[in-house]
Point group: C2
Chain length 476, copies 2
Amino acid sequence: MLNWVHMCAPVISVIQEEISNGELHEILDLVESRSFSQLRNELVDMNPADIAEEMALIEEDKALIVVFRLLPKEQAAEVFSYLEPEDQQRIVEGISDKELASIVNDMFVDDAADFTEEMPANIVRRVLATADPETRKAINQILKYPDNSAGSLMTTELLRLKGEWNVAAAIQYVRHTCDELASITYAFVTDESRHLTGVVSMKDVLAAKDDQLISEIMDDDVIYAKTLDDQAEVAETFKKYDIVSMPVVDGEDRLVGLITIDDVVDVIEEETTEDIYKMAAMAPIEDSYMSTSVFTLARKRVVWLLVLMISATFTGLIITKFESMLTAVAILTSFIPMLMDTCGNAGSQASVSVIRALVLGEVKFSSMLKVIWKEFRVSIIVGLCVAIVNFLRIIVFYYMGMYQLEAGQNIYLIAGVVSATLVLAVICAKFVGCTLPLLADKCKLDPALMASPMITTIVDAVSLLVYFGIASIVLL
Amino acid sequence: MLNWVHMCAPVISVIQEEISNGELHEILDLVESRSFSQLRNELVDMNPADIAEEMALIEEDKALIVVFRLLPKEQAAEVFSYLEPEDQQRIVEGISDKELASIVNDMFVDDAADFTEEMPANIVRRVLATADPETRKAINQILKYPDNSAGSLMTTELLRLKGEWNVAAAIQYVRHTCDELASITYAFVTDESRHLTGVVSMKDVLAAKDDQLISEIMDDDVIYAKTLDDQAEVAETFKKYDIVSMPVVDGEDRLVGLITIDDVVDVIEEETTEDIYKMAAMAPIEDSYMSTSVFTLARKRVVWLLVLMISATFTGLIITKFESMLTAVAILTSFIPMLMDTCGNAGSQASVSVIRALVLGEVKFSSMLKVIWKEFRVSIIVGLCVAIVNFLRIIVFYYMGMYQLEAGQNIYLIAGVVSATLVLAVICAKFVGCTLPLLADKCKLDPALMASPMITTIVDAVSLLVYFGIASIVLL
């Protein structure tokens, strides 16, 4: 109970709301009243993510640049990293080359590469021309990898130690260089040709004795990615081994970068969004919903809609075949939407459960028989419940005068036909729903494509065939 | 292109498959042939997550215990943490109290608490009785917080520093104590009454000069959670601020624990699964799909199925109302499934896009008008495309002899009615689809409940009303 109450009134948001609501208006007010020194004092105490969130709300470009220039130098690059590409572009277009260079050189290299990737060509040229040579080289290195690859996700600022160093020397080295690095939680050991030979956590380095060698305390069984590995695979490995960072090697097994878990969290969100879009019969979009154009949204949606529409015409042809029966027993038509929807939903439930279990690695194609047996038992329970309730509902509606029968027709018989159809069609729907995603996975297709819309279309046809089959036996 | 080819042939899996396929059979073989010393050598070189994955495949309890006992002492607790609750229970039931105590004391406290929580009462008693007093206290502390709260997610093994220490002293302290800690990436500073006063990254500690005080280099603007905060809120904060660990304070603002990002990744997965289940009209399940009983699965699914079935009967009543028209122009019936499916899918596309954008914080209720305007334009493009294709399809099918018309009926007029319905109903469907999730969110309901099944049910009725409305004007 406590938990439930708490979900409705989250306490953590207090900190955020204080900043977002209270200080937000103050910032806009301070810009308008040109109280810049007060604004500067406000900004120093705020979290960069919050500053970025509020700067995105400033509509006038000039005001945005003013606020950005008020940021303390050490915060500017960090705030900039948190901004959306649109706002980054607005700022870059308003600042000098010198200011741009200072931001790019101060950003983490992976953030700088992400930002560069989103900019139009003229800004990319300006960024690369103004960045210092080392940064330029690192950005170019990351940019050359394909989108969604491990290489495009990594940063090059990682901690390298030598196996022959002792712990005291390693700690000294870390203390002198760590200011430049994205993360020092793990250090990586390479040989003369920069091949990855081991990994050691900073915790283990600090816990070891001064005269121990790094090669003695490192772990030589390193979990790593290759630059061209797909980011979804990388995220899977992070989850499987519960790791927080992973080294990346190039085609010749040389250590070139490091992927940290905060970037992996973004990948997981991205991949989930893609799955959810596919499950709702849409091609995934690359940007956020609001920043995707109307035309792109339409294009991503219309293809599947057309495919499913054409498939649905076959369901219509089934109805055409049984037209004479529907004319004879007109009331049968009125149960079609309920049958289609209920069986579609029952099938979707099974398919979505299996698709999610596949994504989470809980089921595999080899467990297909177990899954079918499970869904079969579930479908009998669910089908019977739905059928009984439906039988009673039809009888009640009939006695309330909502259905008109013609001479010689028996409402109990009709209700029986509809309910029997429900049980059988729900069983079929769950069977189709649980097997198709597994088969798709086996055929190296994305199981998410076998979610609700596809299942609904197939199950519609199945349930109508069952319906007309039973009706022709019982009623004609 | 490279990217696409690459997605189909992930390279990273090579490492995993080598272990999973190759070594797996070897382990089972080695158990069967009782080659225990060779097995022990194999195990030493394997990753704990892989060992756990393969131990789960050993069906015989005795063999499982044998393999577990062969693990080097320092690996046993880690492998145990990776096992599923079922397998943990099988092991606990086969080992001595002394062995159990050693595992529990070696595990990270949050893992030990997670494990204890999943066990039956008799095992919980054994665990708490055998654990050393400090571990027992820590486990009990975590167990007292409600499921899904920040308190239940945290570990108590965090690095505490004093503000008045200088950097040299702090590093000495870390080197002596870090063996016991879950993470040293961030250190937390508290006052005498254990109130949280600051945070400092180990990177900043190492980068600072020996004689600087911790209070000088720490950041006193700490992002923290309270023990009773909901885990979904905590995950949101991690994502917003791109952080990797977050301190947890109790009701009196005293520092009691630390949440690390690997646990947050699990929370994100869990919350996403809940969303996806709700979007497919199912109550979320607590365990994995395979370990949830048939009866529980049926219970989680039947409620929504019944609700949606009852709602769908209203669609049926609309058909009953227009029965005379359907008898007069029988061909109209055959387009009902296509209209229902297409409009249902069009509505789902909009609702799922908006639900996901809400979850990711990309849209808010306040942007409702913008969203409606966007979906309106999308629906006109999509509706027209679908209508045109459908018009042509009906004409083609007619000339192929698949539809029979009665005297006085005109196929162009009928195709026109169906296509006009498609345009109007798709516009309505997208409107309903994009507004309902936003309204639900505003009313503090879960927007995920407004996904495909709910939208389909509403849109069915709307599209039939539009259909019969247009048909009565044009055809009668």
